[in-house]
């Protein structure tokens, strides 16, 4: 073989020496961390209740379900899709789990109930995914229809009534603690770690980014685009289902309207955490941080006793500031 000539890239800048940065640990495109730290600091200074164990425990419980749903949403967003059905899936899986344990007496039913609820979430997600991947329908429409259908099914199953009381064994899932930390928080951390690992280190994870970057190029490179898409929607549904089970367990009720409006919050968490709705940008940890930031704003508002109307405005402004700062930061980094 001929010796290829070396190509020299002209230009004054040599590649910078590789120093380990936070970005390496968290993956490219994590934002929100500075904002989070700032917010937490401000709250710690402004109130004497923020940094108490009870409040942090409360905050963790409040955020966990949103974060789990947001992480599922993130997967879909990474493929340049969107999943509007997650809020309704939360309701659906919640009442399915509640209905199963409600009618049960045996303890094993809790496991069955959870599995059935998760399955329901995954099936709704997989159907969304099939319509998007195979029939090439716009994700927005498919999942908007899914939103209506899943909510309608939830109301039908329950006749519009709340399913309760639920047995203590079921309520213990969300209510219990392990090693002194609420189960909800553990579950959130496990989900975040698992998805973060899968995205950063597995072949499937790279495929997800590839599909979101350019589906056609990915296809030509041999990426199984359709299975990847279906898997992503199915997992989003599965995690929304998990969120639903946890919510039902936390509330001790299968409430048919629960989860309403969660879809926008989940998407917002992803975008605040640095995801792009055009795909291929974003990380699981970013989505988690995004959910925590939104949770913190709500928690802080109550702790400070802010008028709810003003709080609504303040949260809007803070989201703008958070994302705006992030944007400036990124631009400065790009120019440096």
């Amino acid at each position: 073989m001929t010796q290829p000539r070396t190509l020299t890239l002209a230009g004054p800048k040599p590649a910078p020496p590789h120093v380990l940065t936070l970005g390496d640990l968290l993956g490219r495109g994590v934002s929100g961390l500075p904002v989070l730290v700032l917010l937490a600091l401000a709250l710690a200074l402004a109130t004497d209740t923020f940094l108490t164990g009870t409040n942090l425990d409360n905050l963790g419980r409040q955020v966990s379900i949103f974060a789990i749903i947001a992480i599922g949403q993130l997967l879909v967003i990474l493929t340049a899709g969107i999943d509007l059905s997650v809020g309704s899936v939360v309701g659906l899986s919640g009442v399915i789990a509640a209905t199963v344990v409600f009618e049960a007496t045996a303890g094993g039913q809790v496991v069955l109930a959870v599995l059935l609820a998760l399955l329901a979430g995954a099936v709704v997600g997989a159907v969304n995914g099939l319509l998007v991947a195979v029939l090439k329908m716009p994700a927005f429409i498919v999942t908007l229809a899914g939103l209506g259908i899943a909510r309608g099914a939830t109301l039908l199953i329950t006749g519009g009534r709340t399913v309760q009381p639920l047995p203590p064994a079921f309520q213990a899932i969300a209510g219990g603690t392990t090693l002194g930390i609420a189960n909800l928080i553990w579950i959130m951390l496990i989900v975040a770690a698992a998805v973060a690992f899968a995205l950063r280190r597995t072949v499937w994870g790279r495929y997800v980014y590839a599909v979101g970057s350019n589906a056609e190029s990915a296809r030509l490179s041999g990426v199984p685009v359709r299975p990847v898409l279906v898997s992503v929607y199915a997992i989003s549904g599965l995690l929304a289902g998990l969120g639903g089970v946890l919510l039902a367990s936390r509330l001790g009720n299968g409430v048919p309207t629960s989860g309403t409006g969660y879809e926008l919050q989940a998407i917002a968490a992803c975008v605040i955490g640095g995801a792009s709705l055009f795909g291929a940008r974003g990380t699981a940890i970013g989505a988690l941080l995004g959910a925590v930031i939104v949770g913190l704003l709500n928690n802080g508002g109550t702790l400070l006793g802010i008028d709810p109307f003003w709080l609504q405005i303040a949260i809007g402004v803070l989201i703008l500031v958070a994302v705006g700062l992030d944007q400036l930061n990124a631009r400065r980094a790009a120019e440096a």
Binding site: M1, P4, T6, L7, T8, V203, R206
Partner: protein
């Protein structure tokens, strides 16, 4: 010797457009088989059929004598040993270089990517194309065009294929990089790999090609060894007519200064740049990959930030505010990367061609369809644009024809100063000679023209003066009469630290 691939009587239509009509092709192991033809002749379509990117309407397709069935998928074709570098790059911009290089075949254990093996494999692939300085973790979208092109080539060449298909791989490369690529292709051939090579640079075909297949209007014209064929003969086969003179040749008498650049200091440049271009003058900008030619053009078009300096057209200062302002002052810029900063893919050919001049086809903001149509027709007059209908999306054009449409966009503005960044990228010989003549005609009418090209014969043949950039500074200037490829490259090459001998 049995062919690696054989296509027989392949047919492909896009709606009313017949892109391929009964084309045969056989590529043998260890040969470099060139595919030649005018823009829109069907070369890229043939390649897409070959790789399974589009389904053919009729005809047979076999790899190593094994029938591939009517609708092979890209994965099947790749599995059979056929790898492609597409004309329109198919990289994943948000992903890292190393992910791009190995996408679809990432080394893994139980689904978990083995980063060490991936790094090693990626390094090896880059080494093969001589791309050593690129960080493996850099996002591909942040790299320069040429670097991206090389990454794409590295990806395909390294994947252990029996047939490597290269669709115009050198259009974005400078002479030197192109030469490195040619070496690479020879190496592949010598190792027994078959290469199907598409290019509009004839001398490249003669340099490395063994056989050539010529297409015209979607039909097979001839397949024959390149030995014993000369350029005019090949051109005649491709174009169906004689092209006696590629470059315009006649020299014009330059008039007063039209474009004056005073102390322009684009952000990122070590020093300000001065440049003056007279009426009726064509000035070339030469330099290696990343020498700052495109950045300079963007800066003086008001499209990139500058630290200081001024630009004057006919003595009047042009505020460096936005491309819109510069355009109003009579400057036009044909960009280098048409997918990224040229085409409007969802819009029609007509809209794409007339976008800068829309206000002139309108009265009180309302467009006159007739005025717009006539503007579109005037703009591409003489470009031999090969297209279906004016309402078709621009993406239905072949690569070269897209380039012509974009050139037409600026020719139609009646600009006083034309900045052309790689204007003949992907344009066939016939059309190239047309383009050269058109550029020369425009200069003749008093325009000042700046041409960036990595194809040195073109710069030498077309320009009156050549300014050479090196590492974002002006390294020197050559009059056309004194310019040789050697002298240009000498100026363009990076200076090593002076070591006392």
């Amino acid at each position: 010797m049995s062919p690696v691939v054989s296509l027989t009587s392949v047919r492909k239509t896009y709606g009313p457009v017949v892109a391929l009509d009964g084309v045969d092709l056989e590529v043998l192991p260890g040969e470099v088989h060139c595919l030649a033809g005018e823009n829109g002749a069907g070369k890229s379509t043939l390649i897409k059929v070959l790789t399974g990117a589009v389904a053919r309407d009729g005809g047979g397709y076999a790899v190593h004598g094994r029938d591939m069935g009517p609708r092979p998928t890209p994965a099947q074709v790749r599995g059979a040993g056929v790898g492609v570098v597409y004309q329109e790059l198919s990289l994943l911009p948000e992903l890292s270089v190393m992910d791009n290089l190995l996408m679809g075949r990432l080394p893994h254990r139980f689904g978990v990517v083995s980063l060490g093996r991936q790094r090693a494999a990626a390094r090896e692939l880059l080494d093969r194309v001589g791309l050593r300085a690129v960080p493996l973790d850099a996002a591909v979208g942040g790299l320069g065009t040429a670097t991206r092109q090389l990454v794409e080539i590295a990806r395909v060449v390294g994947s252990g294929t029996d047939l490597v298909v290269l669709d115009e791989p050198t259009t974005a490369l400078s002479e030197r990089e192109a030469a490195a690529l040619t070496d690479l292709v020879r190496g592949l051939r010598d190792a027994g790999t078959a290469v199907l090579y598409v290019t509009h640079r004839l001398e490249e075909m003669f340099a490395i090609g063994d056989r050539v297949t010529v297409l015209r209007d979607g039909r097979h014209v001839t397949t024959r060894p390149l030995e014993g064929l000369d350029e005019p003969g090949l051109i005649a086969a491709m174009v169906g007519r004689e092209i006696t003179q590629l470059y315009p040749g006649t020299r014009r008498e330059p008039g007063p200064v039209r474009l004056e650049v005073r102390g322009l200091h684009p952000v990122g440049f070590p020093a300000p740049v001065d440049l003056a271009v007279r009426q009726r003058e064509i000035v070339g900008l030469a330099g290696l990959l990343g020498a700052g030619r495109s950045e300079l053009l963007h800066a003086l078009f008001g499209a990139a930030p500058v630290q200081a300096g001024s630009v004057l057209v006919d003595g009047a200062a042009v505020p460096l505010r936005s491309p819109r302002t510069s355009m109003r002052h009579g400057i036009g810029l044909l960009t280098e990367d048409r997918t990224e900063s040229g085409l409007l893919p969802e819009l029609s050919i007509r809209e794409n061609v007339t976008l800068p001049t829309l206000p002139r086809a309108a009265r009180a903001g309302v467009i006159s369809s007739r005025a717009q149509q006539s503007r579109a027709e005037t703009a591409v007059a003489g470009l031999r644009l090969r297209h279906g209908g004016w309402d078709d999306p621009i993406t239905s054009l072949s690569g070269g024809n897209q380039q012509k449409a974009l050139l037409g966009r600026w020719l139609g503005t009646g600009a006083k100063v034309l900045l052309l960044d790689e204007p003949t990228k992907g344009v066939d010989v016939g059309a190239k000679s047309d383009l050269y003549r058109i550029i020369a005609d425009f200069a003749e009418q008093g325009l000042a023209v700046v041409v960036v090209s990595s194809y040195l014969p073109e710069l030498i043949g077309l320009c009156d003066r050549i300014v050479v950039l090196r590492e974002r500074t002006v390294a020197g200037e050559l009059a056309a009469a004194d310019a040789t490829e050697h002298r240009i490259l000498e100026l363009a090459s990076p200076r090593r630290e002076e070591t006392p001998q």
